[in-house]
């Protein structure tokens, strides 16, 4: 039964082929079932395989489809590797993916390029499954690049608007920077350890390298480069907010639930490598912490509903990185899962809101939608509670585990914990700022919604995700075998005070948000009155000036160089040879008068010269 694992990426791939080879002309009645159905089948197989795997008691299972290439000791295969970690990932991808696909059949139903949309989506799921199931880093890299491509295609899905194309290219190129770092990491690992099979590589690394050795640091740094690119962490986080140009289900699937967490998966997958490079691991935590704080600030200033959610995604992945960095591997993956639930829920619900308001995304042009859009309202309520880690929602359990993990770290652990708690405070503010502005107060909409867009295939996934977002924290993630080498993880023992703080701080955030945006006890206008506040606001709104910085430091010089050297300076060297010989030619041409007498005279003169020379010598 476990052998069926090869069907997982195959179904979406077949769906993709079916949709593409028909030239995107299939009618919605057929394209929809193919697009969503292939993922549904995949999920069914995934569930089957997962239950079989759990019952079998195996630690891991490998299935080799074929050897990809075999070149002098370098022989990666199309080999799938199943263990607790990849099992969790594949269930999230197919499960949440299926719900989002189902939702998208409704969301995209008016789009003329319906079949094209689903073809990209299917290709994405297939690539993502390759990424998490690959037993070697090359296959992982295939999935890694594949999801990047689909992300590019889907962000630029509405291609007539050049801004979308720009966002798509930005996403691809920025992540490619990370990918290239990762590729170099792969080269290094192969050159030093002679294999790219993940398990073999990790064993070899443990055998050959000592903790903190230069190679371990370099390799894990390079892999980290790939991870921060894909997961939109500092310093490569700038692409994600722009990526919201894509259709909303894309934002839910790719830019919240699955692809952007690939970096977390990569680090978790190669965690022994990071454990051998403690300085890099600390850097992971630091990157996570700074990212979650910076993007928390930014999220508070945004006005576009999807950009708020995007920054919140960056921030939540920051938590996962923090978890990875402090060695709370299971907690990071657990948070990855719960985040997939509640962030997919929030994005899909925002999709319903946007569609109901005729593609309005500015939260200040919404307001009072509580009555008109009940399903979205409840979705947002539950999603927001989970996001702010309200007690006993799914986000509460996972975020708690990360923060407690941070606290266990000697030395700097407390500061990481503190940073995480402050971040949770911001989370409370920006999440409920969005919630209160959109659903309460007076309606500011230019086109008030007549009725909520919906139907079973849009509302069904929302309801299921609501349940998961609420109760997802009770799911036991079978990761002990992966991260603790079989030993059960001990419970955290911390004082009630710490627990109290962790519960209270997000609530405090919500309360402040309530006072500002709901009861209007405090006024935002007053806060914004001073010039400094305006400047700060603009600075945060622009995402801490990273885009400006990169434009000035990287993009503009490149464009300048490209423009200056359009004609290829090397070619002008050859042009120089040409003009020199042409000039010489022009000189010699003067002697060719065409007069016969002149020629005869030179011949005679030459003769005289030569004869007399001969006579003299």
């Amino acid at each position: 039964m476990l052998e069926l694992i090869w069907l997982l990426p195959t179904f979406p791939l077949l769906g993709f082929l079916a949709l593409v080879l028909t030239g995107g002309r299939l009618p919605k009645q057929i394209a929809g079932p193919i697009g969503a159905g292939s993922i549904g089948l995949s999920f069914a197989v995934a569930a089957l395989v997962a239950s079989e795997f759990l019952n079998s008691g195996l630690e891991h299972f490998t299935y080799e489809a074929w050897v990809w290439m075999s070149v002098g000791g370098f022989n990666p295969g199309f080999t799938f590797y199943l263990d607790g970690l990849s099992m969790v990932m594949m269930l999230i991808i197919t499960g949440v993916g299926f719900l989002i696909h189902l939702y998208a059949t409704g969301y995209m139903s008016d789009d003329p390029s319906f079949a094209r949309f689903f073809s990209y989506m299917n290709l994405f799921v297939s690539a993502m499954l390759m990424l998490v199931l690959g037993d070697n880093l090359v296959l992982l890299y295939l999935g890694w690049e594949g999801v990047g491509l689909c992300s590019y295609l889907l962000i630029g899905f509405w291609y007539t608007n050049p801004a979308n194309g720009y966002a798509a290219r930005k996403a691809f190129v920025v992540t490619r920077v990370g990918d290239t770092s990762m590729a170099i990491g792969l080269f290094l690992l192969f050159a030093q350890l002679g294999t790219l099979n993940i398990q073999d590589m990790l064993h070899a690394a443990e055998m050959q390298w000592s903790v903190g050795s230069g190679f371990a640091v370099a390799a894990s740094l390079l892999l980290l480069g790939g991870a921060v690119g894909k997961s939109a962490q500092l310093p490569l986080q700038t692409w994600l907010p722009d990526a919201m140009a894509g259709p909303t289900p894309i934002s839910a699937l790719i830019h919240a639930a699955t692809m952007v967490t690939a970096g977390v998966y990569l680090i978790a997958r190669t965690h022994p490598l990071f454990e051998m490079a403690p300085s890099v691991q600390l850097l992971v935590a630091l990157i996570g912490l700074i990212t979650l704080l910076l993007s928390g600030f930014t999220a508070m200033t945004q006005s576009d509903i999807k950009r708020i959610l995007a920054y919140s995604t960056v921030s939540q992945i920051g938590y996962m990185f923090l978890g990875l960095g402090v060695g709370a591997w299971s907690a990071a993956i657990f948070h990855l899962m719960t985040h997939a639930f509640f962030k997919a829920l929030l994005f899909l619900a925002s999709g319903t809101v946007i569609l109901s308001l005729h593609h309005e995304q500015n939260i200040f042009k919404m307001g009072g939608l509580r009555k008109a859009l009940p399903v979205s309202f409840f979705s947002f309520l539950i999603g927001s509670l989970a996001l702010t880690a309200f007690p006993y929602t799914s986000g509460y359990f996972s975020k708690d585990e990360i923060l407690l993990g941070a606290l266990e770290l000697e030395g700097v652990g407390f500061w990481f914990w503190l940073g995480g708690v402050v971040g949770a405070f911001f989370t409370g503010i920006y999440t409920f700022r969005l919630f209160f502005i959109v659903f309460f107060g007076d309606s500011q909409a230019e086109h008030p919604p007549e009725k909520e867009v919906g139907g079973w295939h849009m509302n069904g996934p929302l309801i299921l995700l609501m349940i998961l977002a609420l109760a997802g924290g009770f799911i036991h993630v079978p990761l002990d075998a992966v991260f603790n080498h079989g030993e059960a993880h001990g419970e955290h023992h911390v004082s009630g005070l710490i627990h109290g703080i962790m519960i209270a701080v997000p609530l405090l955030g919500i309360a402040i948000s309530y006072l500002f945006f709901m009861s209007k006890t405090f006024s935002v206008e007053k806060l914004m009155a001073s010039a400094l506040a305006k400047k700060l606001h603009a600075f945060w709104f622009g995402g801490w000036g990273f885009d400006t910085l990169y434009n000035a430091v990287l993009v503009s010089p490149f464009l300048f160089l490209a423009r200056v050297n359009r004609k290829d300076i090397i070619d002008s060297f050859y042009a120089l040879i040409v003009s020199v010989s042409q000039a010489a030619n022009a000189l010699i041409v003067k002697s060719q008068t065409g007069s016969l007498r002149w020629y005869a005279l030179t011949v005679a003169g030459g003769l005289v010269v030569m004869v007399s020379l001969g006579a003299i010598l």
Binding site: I588, Q592, T593
Partner: protein, 102 residues
């Protein structure tokens, strides 16, 4: 038998050659240029004959015969060209006929 000194023969050939050369360089009419060229050829022919007689070798006379044939062929082709030139340009002045400048 009194023989003409070989130097005399060579001097005569040299004078003839220079006369021909001067003709080539100074005449404007192509026909006269061609004639001067003939004189130069004959001058060199004379030099061959003198040399042949002096050293008693047959090659010099062979060369003279060859020069003779060459000159005949050259005159035939040259005159033909001149006629064509005259037909096309209505002149045989080589100062005017300088189409082949670079």
């Amino acid at each position: 038998m009194e023989t003409i000194p070989v130097e005399h023969g060579f001097i005569l050939a040299g004078i003839l050659f220079c006369l021909g050369l001067i003709g080539v360089l100074t005449r404007r009419n192509v026909v006269f240029v061609l004639m001067s060229l003939e004189i130069m050829l004959n001058a060199s022919g004379l030099a061959f004959i003198v040399a042949a007689a002096r050293w008693g070798h047959a090659e010099g006379q062979v060369m003279f015969l060859m020069i003779l044939t060459l000159a005949a062929a050259e005159v035939a082709v040259g005159l033909g060209l001149i006629i064509q030139m005259f037909r096309r340009f209505q002149t045989v002045d080589i100062n005017v006929l300088s189409e082949m400048k670079g």
